[in-house]
Symmetry: D2
Subunit: 265 residues, 4 copies
Amino acid sequence: MWLLTSCDLAFDITVPTPFVLMLRPRSGAYQWVAREEYRLAPSVPVFEFTDVYGNLCQRLVAPPGPLTVHTTAKVMTADHLDQTPGAPFVEIQNLPDAVFSYLLPSRYCESDRFGEMATSITAGQLPGYDQVAAIEAWLRTTIHYEPGSSDIPLSAVEINAKQSGVCRDLSHLGIALCRSLCIPAHMVVGYLYGLEPMELHAWFEAFVGGRWYSFDATQAELRGGYVAIGYGRDAADVAIYNQFGPAVYPTIQEVRVQRIEEEDA
Amino acid sequence: MWLLTSCDLAFDITVPTPFVLMLRPRSGAYQWVAREEYRLAPSVPVFEFTDVYGNLCQRLVAPPGPLTVHTTAKVMTADHLDQTPGAPFVEIQNLPDAVFSYLLPSRYCESDRFGEMATSITAGQLPGYDQVAAIEAWLRTTIHYEPGSSDIPLSAVEINAKQSGVCRDLSHLGIALCRSLCIPAHMVVGYLYGLEPMELHAWFEAFVGGRWYSFDATQAELRGGYVAIGYGRDAADVAIYNQFGPAVYPTIQEVRVQRIEEEDA
Amino acid sequence: MWLLTSCDLAFDITVPTPFVLMLRPRSGAYQWVAREEYRLAPSVPVFEFTDVYGNLCQRLVAPPGPLTVHTTAKVMTADHLDQTPGAPFVEIQNLPDAVFSYLLPSRYCESDRFGEMATSITAGQLPGYDQVAAIEAWLRTTIHYEPGSSDIPLSAVEINAKQSGVCRDLSHLGIALCRSLCIPAHMVVGYLYGLEPMELHAWFEAFVGGRWYSFDATQAELRGGYVAIGYGRDAADVAIYNQFGPAVYPTIQEVRVQRIEEEDA
Amino acid sequence: MWLLTSCDLAFDITVPTPFVLMLRPRSGAYQWVAREEYRLAPSVPVFEFTDVYGNLCQRLVAPPGPLTVHTTAKVMTADHLDQTPGAPFVEIQNLPDAVFSYLLPSRYCESDRFGEMATSITAGQLPGYDQVAAIEAWLRTTIHYEPGSSDIPLSAVEINAKQSGVCRDLSHLGIALCRSLCIPAHMVVGYLYGLEPMELHAWFEAFVGGRWYSFDATQAELRGGYVAIGYGRDAADVAIYNQFGPAVYPTIQEVRVQRIEEEDA
């Protein structure tokens, strides 16, 4: 399906403030960006670089006064997420080198502390896709999903204690559980068509059967309409903005996702 | 200045034909892409990757029939190219590791065969920027510039024998001369506002005084209005399309560059 | 000074066990590896790759039975660590792109939770090197250093609560404090000549004044004799071995560092 | 088999001369470096970096006077090169992104000018491994192999005109022919056990059937005993030394390859 996504951010800046934004979706194996727009006011110099995960990052220093960021993208994405029950576990020795680091614990995914729990949740499952599907199902029924957003990411350990969380938090727990079973997993932030309430979204991907598959415990069932903006080990890597110096919070953060025909817009 | 660039390509495909396109300008130190559009007909799956030079490349297989590619970009670029006479030669041992490979000879820049000639052209110049400026001036007065495009790139040796060439060819000779003096140099393809006749353009950058500077022997004087699409060692790395299998030539290749106000378009 | 380092590991393997080892020091800006040896028994196929931090990693599957790993290196390293009081803080917008990720929180360095504490510890210091030196001094006097090693890394938050830890733990807290002040910091594992008791060591580097400087709160004063094996965001990235499947602990882990003359050994 | 390789170089330096050496074999999919030594006299600072092909490069500035370089390595390598007649051609659209650049022409491999010739040499062969084997056989019977070394690399076009060349030259022609058939090919420099006369060697690898295979037209038949030092697009990328400033030639260049038992040496 074709989607038109947009994200508007506004800040009131009091002292010159360095930002690193991550708001430019890239074309990749599962999505094609046919058009995009990126508007900043005031118009300041921006330097773009590619981080170690392949994400496009925009660096700038915001001068005192209002700062607004407006981005839109017209993206072709899958109508349905691929699902392959039975896709096998990939033995460590057969993992691509580049995938290996997604086995390690990270800031919000303390996978070193979830071995027993993951084994219990996935008891009786075939190693691989079915284990991840069991983790996803367990999250869906066990951890209370609170739609909307929160300012401070919580880690897998914290979410497991709290038993509820936003999309980002559920992903952290899902990722930690996968990694503790030696299944590489990483986080994705982006857009989801039909999400309610509409906000930026987070889900996770696990590497089984030789490729990455998407999982999302916040939705009753997996459908399509996902647009990825950034990939990383967890929320620490894929903040849509990192801001340095005295904390600044957005006065506006507005996200829209609209279904369109290819010819439209 | 703000520019609106566009490139239209059309092909008549007879057998399924793999393409690698390089038609997506990236934001970087010297330009900011505020909007871009990339339209393909028919709508085929496209996989995008980043090559070793940081260029975004689009892979696809064109089915038999007509193939059209339409790309536009709204880009902020400098009004004037930076010029710094006297910027010093960077000693080999102080070059950034990533720059080192631009000292080596490449397909169309046989820098291993231009040592004496480069020394003679730059006699009396301060090592560094002034040597490159002398090479650029020498190209401008010595090699006849033929505006427009050619199908087959010529190498520095060939251009030096022929004493005339298109923008790409002059760049090859300029790059070979720089490298033979141990000055890293690479090729850029992209757009130039005001180019006549309007076509895709090629120029080169040399690394002196700790950064890259642009040079362009095809223009009477350096001004601004450049939009880079791709960087590489020479034309072999920065073809806007590589096509595999039986040769296919564009039936349309149309380039436009228009000056706009920021609010426009 | 010239050092001869060695590390011996032994394991009793019961089921085929994938390992990723990181035991090959690399020559770099601050050390030169003149000789190295890497011996495995039994002799199994090993695949080596470079991770995103530039570390050389060795992948293998250990068959059931004893596994021994013996590595030695003859390395030239500095007699004294560089110290530059007053080296200035690097503004975020001037950081090299590749350094930026060392500002983010990571598994064991929850820098997002140390802002106030770091500000208080470094009150009155010039931004930059002097702040890091103040953090190092604070660690030295505040957190009790327990020589030797521990099996489970503790995070900065945990160490701050416990007020004591091994070298790795002190580094985690130092790194978290630096990052919370927007000073990039990363972890190093390796050897230290004269360490008592002799073991693998960990310290941290901070990026100020345009380069990385080493800091080590476990030593009464900074001297030389450091040999780096691996760099990373924290201990999760630089385990000298990662092992998958049922846990296996080394039956032998023996480290030696000997001072030699260049001609020796 | 286990091999003990060594390379000795000596130069008489008259002015401070920057060098980039490539003399450190790396462990990889097909070889394991169990020990290596790298000795320089005089002992100057060396900075090591990894180039875009993954080769370890050593940068230094040689002071006036004699410079000697001594490297040895103890390496486990295959007794026989893998051969898989019938391994299929990989469609362009299925090539790994990282392999794609080995389809492009390069300094000494003008693959853009060998299409007809390659088609004729490989007439009747199955696309893939068998085409490369036919190219190798054609080189063996057509181009006169001159053992030993030469100072100046020749390109595929030049070798084809001259109909004779050293190992490096034959590889250039083999690579150009493969690429002109859309088969990725790259150059390898290293050691070959039993080579007569003993010298540094060059051969090429082609990507068919989903992996790289080695080919060597200088040997009557493919056997094992190869140790790779460097990989690249052609000889321009894999010089064992690049030297800048007034030309300096080695007064000694001595290579040895000895078969040993694992326990030896």
